[in-house]
């Protein structure tokens, strides 16, 4: 074959490839995107009744959507892994966004938002327990799942629970205090999980 022939053939091949490649790449990328399992990594740092919801709601729902989910519980978030979560509390103190409504009585009464100054909420003994009881009743009235139930549903759906071993020791907890199925790890184990995750959330 002469040099001219080769040049012509090369030119034809190049042209044809230019036509075909973008489509092939596009098709391959679409296929990969469709077959890929999305993933979610959550860091749960809070140990109150109100903050117990976001990690378990998002975790269980993502699992229902077919995602890979890992939740890393650290500091006060470890409370959410305790065997008994019925004593989780919610505090109105320093929480001005929290509505103060009664979960019983006629509708007009339930509709009132009791605007109680924070300083009074802080000073009255037992106010936190009262607020927690009201919140628990509101949750029940509205058909919202309990924390223990959501946590169980998360585990059933293969949501991975990771607990910060450093905090366990720092707070003097024992592995016996927590539900089973928890992996005790450190930041170095969680970060690579978060690195690969499509969605990472700090709560």
């Amino acid at each position: 074959m002469s040099t001219t022939d080769t040049a012509v053939i090369d030119e034809l091949i190049r042209k044809r490839l230019d036509e075909m490649l973008p489509q092939a790449i596009e098709a391959k990328l679409t296929e990969r995107e469709e077959n890929r399992t999305p993933s979610l990594a959550i860091i749960a740092t809070r140990g109150t009744l109100d903050w117990a919801y976001p990690p378990f709601i998002l975790g269980s729902t993502a699992a229902a959507l077919g995602w890979d989910v890992s939740i890393f519980f650290t500091f006060y978030g470890l409370n959410l892994l305790k065997k008994d979560v019925s004593d989780l509390k919610v505090s109105p103190l320093g929480n001005p966004g929290m509505p103060m409504k009664m979960p019983f009585g006629p509708d007009w009464f339930k509709g009132i938002n009791w605007n109680i100054p924070n300083i009074i909420q802080a000073g009255v003994p037992g106010f936190e327990n009262l607020a927690t009881t009201l919140m628990q009743q509101t949750i029940k009235n509205n058909g919202v799942a309990g924390i223990a139930e959501l946590r169980e549903l998360s585990q059933e759906a293969d949501v991975k629970f990771l607990a910060c071993q450093m905090t366990v020791e720092l707070f003097g907890f024992h592995h016996d205090d927590f539900i089973s199925g928890v992996d005790y790890v450190g930041a170095a184990s969680f970060l690579p999980v978060a690195q690969k995750a499509d969605v990472s959330l700090f709560m």
Partner: protein, 75 residues
């Protein structure tokens, strides 16, 4: 419309209707229809999003007097 299984999620709130739907579908075979009853207004958008993401088919949905009915065909 015919269905193979019924899920009563009335009175339940987000995300329970979706979680129960997912659980019910797991026990079913491909092509079977699950009927879901719900009173959660949020479940209308959520059920559509769930089906779109999981590849199950939302065949039809209706609403009457604050009660929602969904028919989902398992993938």
């Amino acid at each position: 419309m015919n269905f193979d299984k019924e899920l009563d999620a009335k009175g339940l709130n987000c995300p329970l209707p979706i979680l129960r739907t997912k659980k019910s579908l797991t026990d079913m075979t491909s092509g079977q229809i699950l009927k879901i009853l719900s009173t959660d207004p949020g479940s209308v958008k959520d059920m559509a999003a769930f089906c779109k993401q999981t590849g199950n088919e939302l065949v039809t949905q209706t609403e009457a007097g604050g009660e929602y009915q969904f028919y989902v065909k398992r993938k």
